[in-house]
């Protein structure tokens, strides 16, 4: 990967990051006054999904083309836990996250046996396998998916059927996960991950077990994608095949690319842009696919830093 515009000083001030973060929190806190809250929840779910994906691609240099399998299977797990077992929503989300973590451990262990382009192809093929699996086994409801998933009562007390309560729940999950990713990126672990991205052999020669680091990054990324998927299935009260399909894997790549890979806030912006676009162009049917394809091509040819990456480059600060 082209390294994003990071200044070399290690002890770089993070103050401006906190300002941007506070701004993001403020926007998300006030926005439901004007914007349809379900739409905002959708944006946050996809933003978390894209942030999780970006942890792997932007900071680990690993392009997974099958991340939909973590989003989708966690969605099924959470929906099942809520509808059939009657669990509280916080446990449903945790259960979905755990299921995706286990799945990503298996998939990651297989996929990191090959590098670069092969890694992308293997993750794509394995996610297609998961897709067929979800299509055939009875508990996912096949083409119908799991419908009418109850949102339940948070901690057995707060009824999430109320959109306002649900919004706060999603916001809390999103912000907590975002802070976690931020911490991971700036931890010693994150630094080693970047070292592996820049030059794997050199990292190996420094004595790091690069395979293990890549696997851990893969599991964190997959698990957080699962958190996003589980939350999403509670928001929409639906878990369906759309979320495990390869087109979803493509969409998360696009969100990250548009926002700026290797930036912290980029995927959030990218997710907001793409979800908004899908919302406005929904009546155009297959044209949405065409537009997404065009954005892909333009980003790769002329706009590789992405929106936030471009701003960060102008300001000479990391975002």
């Amino acid at each position: 990967m082209n390294s994003p515009a990071l200044s070399p000083t290690a002890a770089q001030s993070q103050a401006h990051m906190w300002v941007v973060f506070a701004l993001m929190v403020a926007v998300l806190a006030i926005a439901p006054i004007w914007v349809y809250p379900i739409f905002l929840m959708k944006v946050m779910c996809f933003a978390l999904f894209a942030c999780a994906f970006n942890l792997l691609l932007g900071f680990g240099g690993l392009l997974s083309f099958g991340h939909a399998m973590f989003l989708g299977s966690a969605g099924y797990a959470a929906a099942h836990a809520s509808k059939i077992w009657g669990w509280n929503p916080e446990w449903c989300v945790l259960f979905g996250t755990l299921c995706s973590a286990v799945l990503s451990l298996v998939v990651g262990a297989l996929a990191i046996r090959r590098q670069g382009i092969y890694f992308a192809m293997i993750t794509l093929a394995l996610s297609q396998m998961v897709f067929f699996f979800c299509l055939q086994i009875p508990f996912t409801g096949g083409e119908d998916g799991i419908q009418a998933v109850p949102r339940g009562k948070l901690f057995g007390v707060v009824d999430l059927g109320d959109n306002q309560a649900m919004y706060m729940f999603v916001l809390a999950i999103f912000l907590a996960s975002f802070l976690f990713i931020w911490r991971v990126v700036h931890s010693p672990f994150g630094q080693i991950l970047k070292a592996i991205r820049e030059h794997q052999d050199r990292a190996t020669s420094l004595g790091y077990d690069t395979e293990t680091f890549k696997l851990i990054a893969f599991v964190i990324s997959g698990a957080l994608a699962g958190t996003a998927g589980a939350t999403k299935s509670l928001v929409f009260q639906l878990a369906s095949l759309t979320d495990v399909h390869w087109t979803m894997s493509g969409e998360v790549v696009l969100m990250t690319l548009v926002g700026g890979m290797g930036t912290l806030f980029g995927p959030v912006v990218g997710a907001a842009v793409i979800v908004t676009m899908q919302n406005y162009l929904a009546h155009l049917g297959a044209w949405v696919t065409v537009v997404q394809g065009v954005i892909f091509v333009l980003c790769v040819l002329a706009f590789r830093r992405g929106l936030v990456g471009e701003i960060a480059h102008k300001l000479k600060k990391s975002l």
Binding site: M1, A125, F132, F133, F296, V297
Partner: protein, 294 residues
């Protein structure tokens, strides 16, 4: 007569379908391998270009009455020419960057092409008639073999072996292999490497279009026909390893057969068997059956 409790007719029928699928896997993975060898790009548009081949054949038949034989030559040329344009206008700018950008660009192109065709033709398939010469069946005594299917297997085998021969045994192929190893040195010897790269991409794309024309009478001509097959072909490529031309041919046909056999013995797994095999191969021989780990 039965084989493992399955009527011979059904058994041979599925084996034949497996061989047909295998022919397409072989042709497509061969094209991917040729492109990857020189460009270091995984051509995600390959499935869309396979679909384009079928569509050019279908449209030229319905609009201008172009028959199958002409289409067999014309479509690969037309679609190959669009490939040349893509390489000249876009891919060319990505060679200095990480290989992943090539994957992303061709993925975007695939979305555009498939989206445009879905807008224009919907998702339902259009029939393409089997050419007259190949209507009817051979009666081989133990099964009826449709003539067209026999032709597809033979033709794709011939095309695959011819490609192998050109790349491994001729002077042109020697240039190509040399350029794969060390492009700047080959250029220093006075060979126009950029043009070779362009033509190689065009050739790989042409192979995909050829597969599309051959598939048109068997499967229906459909805008999404390339989307799912390309993922299977990726798995085929991972299993075989892209280092060897013969490797991708053998793996393509072999996996088609295995898929056909799975349909006989355990139909539920027929959609996933290739991915399962990929998993096993990754565990035992990560570089692929015919590949070498760099």
């Amino acid at each position: 007569m039965d084989i493992f409790g399955i009527p011979l007719q059904a058994f041979m029928g599925q084996l034949l379908i497996g061989l047909i699928n295998g022919s397409f896997y072989a042709l497509l993975s061969l094209g991917l391998a040729v492109i990857f060898g020189l460009l270091n790009i995984i051509n995600f548009t390959h499935g869309a270009q396979y679909m384009l081949g079928a569509f050019v054949a279908y449209l030229s038949l319905t609009h201008w009455g172009v028959n199958y034989w002409v289409a067999l030559v014309l479509c690969p040329l037309v679609v190959g020419a669009t490939g040349v344009l893509i390489e000249r206008l876009m891919l060319k700018h990505l060679y200095k960057l990480d290989h992943l950008y090539g994957l992303l660009l061709t993925f975007g192109l695939a979305l555009i092409i498939q989206g445009l065709f879905r807008n224009e033709f919907g998702s339902s398939g259009m029939p393409y008639p089997v050419p007259e010469v190949f209507q009817g069946v051979f009666n081989t005594g133990f099964m009826f073999l449709p003539k067209y299917r026999a032709w597809v297997i033979v033709a794709s085998l011939v095309v695959c072996l011819a490609t192998w021969y050109v790349i491994e045994r001729t002077k042109l192929g020697a240039y190509l292999r040399a350029a794969t190893e060390n492009p700047s040195l080959v250029q220093a010897f006075g060979i126009n490497v950029p043009r070779m790269i362009t033509l190689t991409y065009g050739f790989g794309v042409g192979l995909a279009a050829l597969a599309g024309v051959m598939a048109a009478p068997i499967y229906q001509v459909n805008p999404t026909m390339g989307a799912d097959i390309i993922i299977v072909v990726f798995a085929v490529v991972v299993i075989g390893g892209m280092g060897s031309i013969m490797g991708s041919i053998v793996t393509g046909f072999g996996l088609g057969l295995i898929e056909g056999l799975t349909k006989v013995f355990y139909p539920e797994a027929s959609a996933t068997v290739i991915f399962v095999i990929m998993t096993i191969v990754l565990l035992i021989k990560p570089a692929g059956l015919f590949g070498t780990q760099k």
